[in-house]
């Protein structure tokens, strides 16, 4: 019984403490209705006086209505800079809300149209799709016989997700997660043997770019970007083919897992150019990027641990970096907007 009484007493005290705040916001809600009546009667100065203290007590729809009424009042009183501050506040609450030609006065619509709104965060899904060309850059050759090695980069595919955070009208940060396949052929020969090796390495790449948006046309925006990337080797697939040139006989070793001979981590720098075409709730983009690897793909400790590759194919892994040129495009969706405030 005692505890029940205590609970009632605590709840009553809590309600009594909350009462002034509830009263205030209810008061402000009523003031909005009063302000609308003042506006219809042309009593603009009274609106400012009435709603001035309500800006800190309301939120959401009601706060938006307060800023709208204050913006309209200041516009009517020809105080454009004050009106603009309230329009900005309105648009910060609801950046996607468009002016209503039926209910908004022309001056308010004009003022709303002068405020810059940028997409704050955008997300592209499964759309960074495009061909990529691997550029092998060997810098340390290892050979068991007198050989001439010739590397050729091959086309493969890159796909993934991209996200972008825009700081202002010109600068943005772009972070992508990509699955990139880097593949190349190696031709080498010695004595009467022609050897071919091809390898496909699948990486999980994370490039992060600082993007600069150049001034463009209304919907078409070109951009340049530069940054860093890190990658992790997921899969490695390797095929060998040996042909004895005298009788054209050959033997092969296919689908060898090469990931064990490779360094798992890759990293480097990257840069690219692109353009975006703005649509209603997102943009289409098209871009070309170059990723310049700074990591050796070969694990030096594993170079001599595969005797079948050495004996049958006279093969040793070279020190090599794999760079990549990719062309991709896709669609990014705007997940939120930001109002650019006046300086």
């Amino acid at each position: 019984m005692n505890s029940a009484l205590k609970n009632i007493a605590t709840s009553t005290l809590f309600l009594l403490l909350l009462l002034p705040f509830i009263g205030k916001s209810q008061d402000c809600s009523e003031r909005i209705d009063q302000a609308k009546k003042y506006y219809n009667n042309g009593q603009l100065a009274e609106i400012i006086q009435l709603l001035d203290t309500c800006q800190t007590e309301l939120h959401g729809n009601e706060l938006w209505n307060v800023h709208r009424l204050l913006a309209l009042s200041y516009l009517g009183l020809e105080k454009n800079s004050e009106a603009r501050q309230h329009v900005i506040a309105m648009m910060e609450i609801s950046p996607e809300k468009k002016p209503n030609v039926l209910t908004d006065p022309v001056d308010l619509i004009k003022l709303m149209n002068t405020v810059t709104i940028i997409p704050k965060f955008s997300l592209g899904f499964g759309v960074m799709v495009g061909p990529s060309l691997t550029i092998p850059r060997p810098y340390g050759a290892y050979m068991l016989t007198d050989q001439v090695k010739h590397y050729t980069g091959k086309n493969s595919l890159q796909f993934g997700l991209s996200s972008s955070y825009q700081f202002n009208t010109r600068l943005a940060m772009d972070l992508s997660v990509l699955v990139s396949t880097k593949s190349y052929d190696l031709d080498y020969s010695f004595g009467n043997w022609d050897m071919k090796m091809d390898e496909k390495l699948t990486y999980f790449d994370v490039p992060i770019y600082l993007r600069y948006l150049f001034p463009g046309k209304k919907r078409l925006l070109p951009y340049g970007q530069a940054g860093l990337y890190g990658g992790y080797l997921l899969l490695g697939n390797n095929n060998f083919d040996a042909t004895f040139t005298k009788d054209e006989s050959s033997f092969e070793l296919i689908n060898i897992n090469s990931a064990n001979r490779r360094n798992r981590l890759d990293y480097g720098i990257g840069a690219g150019l692109g353009c975006m075409y703005k649509l209603k709730k997102g943009h289409l983009f098209f871009q070309a990027n170059y990723l310049h690897s700074m990591a050796n793909i070969s694990d030096a400790d594993k170079r001599y641990t595969y005797p079948d590759l050495q004996q049958s194919y006279q093969y040793l892994d070279d020190d090599m970096r794999l760079s990549m040129f990719s062309i991709g495009g896709g669609f990014a969706m705007y997940m939120g907007y930001k109002v650019i405030k006046d300086k």
Partner: protein, 336 residues
Amino acid sequence: MKRVLCFWLMLSSFLIGNAQSDCKDALYNANLKYKSGQLKEGVEQLETCLSELKGDNRFEAYHLLAIMFQELNQPEKMDEAINQMLLLDPDYQDQPNTDPVSFTRALNQYKVTPKYQVGVRAGVNITSVQFVESFGPIKGINIYKPQTGYDVGVMIRKNLSRQVVLELDAQVAGTRIRHELDYNNGWNKIYTERLNWFGVRVGAAYNLPEFKQFRPWVGVYPGLDFLQKSTVNLDKVDPEGNVRLQYSKVATNERNAQQPVMGLRVGFQKKITRGEIGFSVNYRMQFNQTVNAAQRGSNASFVYSTQYIEDGLKLNTLSYTLTYSLPWKFSVNKSN
């Protein structure tokens, strides 16, 4: 006869042109009538022009009609107009407005829910094996180690009610098997197999009560997996682990091509500015063994050089998946 035809053509084009010019300013004129209290006239003006109005104007027309029907105390017509305006702009309730307070209160009784959701899912999986029968060595230690892989897919959900959701999934998945055989001071073997699948699921999920804007759910997802490719690698490693001999084969034809599966999922969804994100944990059981018994050991050269025959295994996969979905078509319901 020609004259009559000409007259009718001229008359009808005049009438159509006149109607179009009337409807051009229908919204503006109806709004003036609403403001001056001529509600019936405003309704009449808009109703005759509804078929002519498109896009934002059509939305505004239903919006204004709903407000006027409320003031005319015609709740059934208001209900119909609100339905139409919310179908044209399902996000309207999330944005601020200058509507009369009584109309906002009436509008808050309606809930817009997507009829369908289309989305993508991606995640990582961990595959462990369920041992059924052994064809391995009789001495030494052999261990199957759980391996990571990936799940990527698309889905379409139909909300049958607020609680029950029907889902159709299509996904590609990569799973791996790793079998390590330790022969005590002899050459050890490491067997790895990569299996790529294409799978379809038809599942049902049950939405649990929302908790702080997170909507938890549980679901059952039976389906079928189709094997796309199986690649086997076997490394023989010397006792010090320094020297490796490598063997490989494409084993797709030695495997069962179809796998009936049962998936159990728990997860949650959260509405964000655009669409919904979600996270789920999925447990997938395959009912058939991976190896087709009739094809076991059919690649004689591989068996001869590796001295390895695949065991009878079933795969169980636990995956952690992120989802993102967008609504597609909406329904409007009024709460009682």
